[in-house]
């Protein structure tokens, strides 16, 4: 299990390639990356604030829960903070399991939880304004799937 919180970009391809590479009991790898989206072509920068200390703890707790629940061979979470531009990867999760159903479900679970239970806050900067991204009710509802 590996949890990384950093300002620097990460090498997605290298991370995917390295993930669970030493395991021969794994039949399924699911890798997901979240990317800074600029739907209306107005976003100049995405700023991500976090709570150093709590972030690492919360991510580790979520990753461990996924690992235990789906008996994962391995799990990886990388999340960036600071200033990002459209198209940059914000974060990634990877899950490894003997079969694909567990790997997909665990990745889905990780995403739902780290969206609303890991202490990150996004602020969208355009040329005219800067606004904090509001949490969506649908993100909260998504969590109830897992209880």
């Amino acid at each position: 299990m590996r949890v990384v919180v950093q300002a620097e970009p990460f090498d997605y391809a290298a991370e995917v390639d390295r993930f669970a590479a030493d395991r021969s009991d794994i039949g399924a790898l699911v890798c997901f990356a979240g990317v800074v989206r600029d739907t209306d072509n107005t976003l100049s920068m995405m700023e991500i604030e976090h709570y150093p200390g709590m972030t690492e703890k919360a991510l580790s707790k979520i990753a461990k829960e996924a690992k235990d629940r789906w008996s994962l061979g391995d799990v990886l979470v990388i999340h960036r903070f600071g200033k990002l531009t459209p198209g940059e990867k914000i974060m990634m999760v990877a899950t490894a399991a003997p079969h694909r159903a567990a790997a997909f479900a665990a990745a889905d679970f990780l995403m739902d939880y780290l969206k609303s239970r890991a202490p990150f806050w996004k602020k969208e900067h355009s040329r005219e304004s800067a606004d904090w991204v509001a949490a969506k009710q649908s993100d909260e509802t998504a969590l109830s799937r897992w209880s």
């Binding site: 709570y51 914000i90 890991a118 202490p119 806050w121 996004k122 904090w132 949490a135």
Partner: protein
């Protein structure tokens, strides 16, 4: 006790962190104490449904006791991922 503020809570209060002496028994008591200080705290704590609190880096409820707590953090609902 260290009080930390993040995102728009930090912006409204105008600082990321402060140290205060308090006898507040619960998070709600602490919020009432802060609100009584200055207008910027009233602005930050006007709608508790838009706020979350963590005690020693674990999410908690507003009626949670502060006994033994060293770090309290206030912030909006999280938007990770």
């Amino acid at each position: 006790m260290d009080i930390l503020y993040f995102a728009w809570v930090r912006e409204r209060i105008g600082l990321p962190k402060e140290q205060i002496q308090t006898q507040a028994a619960t998070v709600a008591d602490l919020i009432n104490e802060l609100r009584a200080r200055e207008e910027r705290y009233v602005a930050a704590f006007s709608d508790l449904s838009a706020l979350r609190v963590a005690l020693d880096q674990e999410l908690a409820d507003f009626d949670a006791p502060l006994d033994g707590v060293r770090e309290v953090a206030f912030f909006p609902p999280m938007t990770g991922g």
